[in-house]
Symmetry: C2
Subunit: 411 residues, 2 copies
C-alpha cells in the first residue's frame, strides 16, 4: 500500500461536473489500496475573481488579501469532499490551519516552514481520503497566509515530502512534459522521465507545466513527481532524480519564449559599478531581468544587453534610459520582436559540442543569433521572433528528440 498525494489544478476543478471526474480518479486510486491525500486549486476563474475584488478594494497583497484569496481553494475542497461522501467514501477536508501547514508571516508570498503530518496520517489510518486546499497556510500567530500564485503545486510537493509519500501526482491540462511545444512541432514527444534540474530549466523557460518553486522543493526533498492530464488516462512524465538512464541524451527539450524584449545600452563607459547603477533601479521596481550579456570592452566603453518580459518593457526602458544618460552612454536601443530559444539537457554536462551544434543548425537556416547565454544544462539564444517556429523545429530534429527507444505503447 502506497501513500499518494494527488494535486488537481484550476481547470481540473473548474465545474462541479469536473470535480466529479476528479472524485472518480481519486477513488480509483483509493480502491487500488492506496492512501490518498488530495490537494486542490481554486475553481478556474475564481482566483481571478477574488483578486479583482481585492484590487477594487485596494489591495494586491497583505493579511486581509490572503483572507479573501484563500476562500477559493476552500470552496473546492468542500465540494470534492461532498462528492466523495456522496459516492460512499469517507472524506475529510482539512484547511491549511488544521493540517497545519505552518508558514512564515510573509502574507501573499509565504514560505512553508513546517508541516504537521499527524492529523493527516491519523485520518488516513481511519480510512479517510483527506482533501487539503493548495496555496494556503497559517503563520505562527494563527493568521491565514497564502503562498503566492502557483502555490498549490508547492503545497502538494511539500505535503508529499512531509508525509514521505511514495508519489506526488500533479494533474493538469497537458499530458506531461514534451520535448518541445507540440503545437509548433508535430514530432514533439512526451518524455517518460526528466530530472529535477532539467525540469527547472524547462519551467523557468516558459514550459509552464509545473511551478519552478514546486520543482525546487521536490528536488530538495527528493519527491518523485508525476505530471499528467486529468482528462485522459495516459501516464504522464515522471520528474525525479537524475539517473543513468537520463544521461543517454544530451538534450531533453527545446523551449522558447516570445514574450521578452531586448534592451541594449550602447557604448557605456566601462567603469566599476556600471552594472549596479543600471540594474538597481530595475530590481527596485520589481522588474525581473532575464539574460544579461556584456562583452569585452573597447576603448574604455562596452555594450550591455539584457532581456525583460514584454510586460515590463516600457517601464524598464524608461528607467534604463535615465541611468544611461547619467552615465553618458551613447545610446539605448531596444527590440521587442525577439524570442528566446533554449535547449535543455542534463547530459550537456558531459557532452561537448551541444552549443556548437545549436548555432550551426540555426545558421544553416539563415537564422542570426543575437545573444547567447549558457548554464550547466542549458543554452539559450535570442533570435528574431519571426523565426521562432522554424528554429524550434530544426533544433528538435537536429537533436533527435522525436526518436525514442521508449515507445508510447509501453505505457
Amino acid at each position: 500500500m502506497a501513500l499518494i498525494v494527488q494535486k488537481f489544478g484550476g481547470t481540473s476543478v473548474g465545474t462541479v461536473e469536473k470535480i466529479k471526474n476528479v472524485a472518480s480518479r481519486v477513488t480509483a486510486t483509493k480502491q487500488a489500496g492506496n492512501d490518498v491525500v488530495v490537494v486542490l486549486s481554486a475553481m478556474s476563474g475564481e482566483t481571478n475573481r477574488l483578486v479583482g475584488l481585492a484590487k477594487e478594494a485596494g489591495a494586491s497583497s497583505g493579511r486581509e488579501y490572503d483572507v479573501v484569496l484563500s476562500t477559493g481553494e476552500q470552496v473546492s475542497i468542500g465540494l470534492l469532499s461532498i462528492i466523495l461522501q456522496g459516492m460512499g467514501h469517507e472524506a475529510l477536508s482539512m484547511l491549511g490551519s488544521r493540517v497545519p501547514i505552518r508558514t512564515n508571516a510573509h502574507f501573499s508570498a509565504a514560505k512553508i516552514e513546517n508541516i504537521g503530518k499527524e492529523n493527516i496520517l491519523n485520518a488516513c489510518k481511519d480510512g479517510k481520503i483527506v482533501v487539503v486546499p493548495g496555496f494556503q497556510g497559517v503563520d505562527a500567530q494563527g493568521n491565514t497566509t497564502t503562498l503566492g500564485r502557483g502555490g498549490s503545486d508547492t503545497t502538494a510537493v511539500a505535503l508529499a515530502a512531509a508525509l514521505e509519500a511514495d508519489l506526488c501526482e500533479i494533474y493538469t491540462d497537458v499530458e506531461g512534459v514534451f520535448t518541445t511545444d507540440p503545437s509548433i512541432c508535430s514530432d514533439a514527444r512526451k518524455m517518460e522521465k526528466i530530472s529535477y534540474d532539467e525540469m527547472l530549466e524547462m519551467a523557468s523557460l516558459g514550459a509552464k507545466v509545473l511551478q519552478t518553486r514546486s520543482v525546487q522543493f521536490a528536488r530538495r526533498f527528493n519527491v518523485p513527481l508525476m505530471v499528467r492530464s486529468s482528462f485522459t488516462e495516459t501516464i504522464g512524465t515522471l520528474v525525479c532524480k537524475e539517473d543513468e538512464d537520463m544521461e543517454r541524451a544530451a538534450v531533453s527539450g527545446v523551449t522558447y519564449n516570445k514574450k521578452e524584449a531586448k534592451i541594449s545600452v550602447v557604448r557605456v563607459p566601462d567603469r566599476p559599478g556600471v552594472a549596479v547603477k543600471l540594474f538597481k533601479p530595475l530590481s527596485e521596481a520589481g522588474i525581473n531581468v532575464d539574460m544579461i550579456v556584456q562583452n569585452i570592452s573597447h576603448e574604455g566603453h562596452t555594450d550591455m544587453t539584457f532581456t525583460v518580459t514584454d510586460d515590463d518593457y516600457e517601464e524598464a526602458f524608461a528607467l534604463v534610459k535615465e541611468t544611461a544618460d547619467a552615465l553618458e552612454a551613447h545610446d539605448v536601443i531596444a527590440d521587442q520582436e525577439i524570442a528566446k530559444l533554449s535547449i535543455v539537457g542534463a547530459g550537456m554536462k558531459t557532452h561537448a559540442g551541444v552549443a556548437t551544434k545549436m548555432f550551426e543548425t540555426l545558421s544553416e537556416e539563415g537564422i542570426n543569433v543575437q545573444m547567447i547565454s549558457t548554464s550547466e544544462i542549458k543554452v539559450s539564444v535570442v533570435i528574431d521572433e519571426k523565426y521562432t517556429e522554424l528554429a524550434v523545429r530544426v533544433l528538435h530534429d537536429a537533436f533527435g528528440l522525436a526518436d525514442s527507444d521508449v515507445k508510447e505503447e509501453e505505457y
Copy 2:
C-alpha cells in the same frame, strides 16, 4: 467611550462600492470615539451561489457544506479590512475560529455555546477595528460550523452580549420597524422603540427585519438592538426591554402574511391522541404548522383547522388526508387564498378590548374572520386573502398607529 457592534447584511456589502460605504459608516463611529466591532454577511447573491454549488455536488448540510458556505462571509471581512486600511485605519479581520465563536457540532445549524472576548477586546484596546464574519463558528474539535441562514444577526447579537457592548446596530435595507407595511399603508410610521417580545411577534409574523433567533438572543442577554438603514442617515428603531413608555400604546403594529394556506379536517372523531396522530407526520416531514384551532366537540366529533406555508401546502395536505382517512374523518378541505393578519402590542396585556376592536373594525368592512388565535401580546386572524390590504389599512387607522407624540424631527 462606548463599544458598538455594527452588523451589515448582504445587500449592504453587495459590491466593493457598497462596502466602501460601510467603511465610511464604521470609521465615523470609530472617529466619534467608540470601539467598533463589525459583523458582515456574505455579499448578496454569494451565499446562493455557494448553496447552488454545494447542492450540485450533492449536499445541503453537513461539515463539508459548512466549509464551502463559510467562505462567503470570509471574503466580505477581508474586503472591508482592506478598505479600512486603505483609509488609514487599523483594521483586523478575525475568523469565527480565531475569535473564537465556539458552537456545538450541529453542522449547518450550529448553536453558539460560548464566545471568547479576549482577542477582540485586546485588538480594540490596540485601537483596531475588528471585522468578524457572521454566520460561522468553530466546534470543540476545531471544525468550521455555520449557524444556518440569517445567522449573521445572531452572531452580531451574541458578540454584543459577550463583549457587553453598549449597542448592537443591525444595518439593513429598511429604515427600521414600521407600524405596518408602508407599501400598503401610506400612514405607516417608523417606531422609535419596540420591546423584544413585540419584535419577536412581528418577526415571526413576517416583518422580516430581524431574524427571530437573534431577537431571542438579545432578549435573553438584554442587548439593546438598533435596526437601521445602511443607505440613509436616519435613526432606526431601538429594540429593547419593555419600559413604561411602551405601555402607553396597546397596539404597536399590524402585520400580515399572505403566504399561508389553511387546512381543515372536518368532523374527526374527538378521541385522545387525535391531534398527535394528525400533526406528528407533519413535524416528521419538517413541516412547520402555524396557527392551530380546535373548537368544542359536537356529538363526539370536532373540526381541526391549521395553517402551513404555501410552500409546504401540497405535502401537508397529502399527509393530513392520509391520517384523516385512517381516523375516519368526514372530509379534509383546504384554502390557499387566505391571509393571516395580526396586531401586536405589549400593551395588550393590560388593555382589554383590543381583540374586540379588531373584530369590530373588520366586520364593519364586511371582512369575515375565519380563524382566531391569540397570545399574550398578539391577536391573529385568518381572512380572505383579497381583503388583506384593506384590512391592514383600517386596523392601522382604528388603533391610531399613524399618530405619535414622538416626532421624526426629534431623532
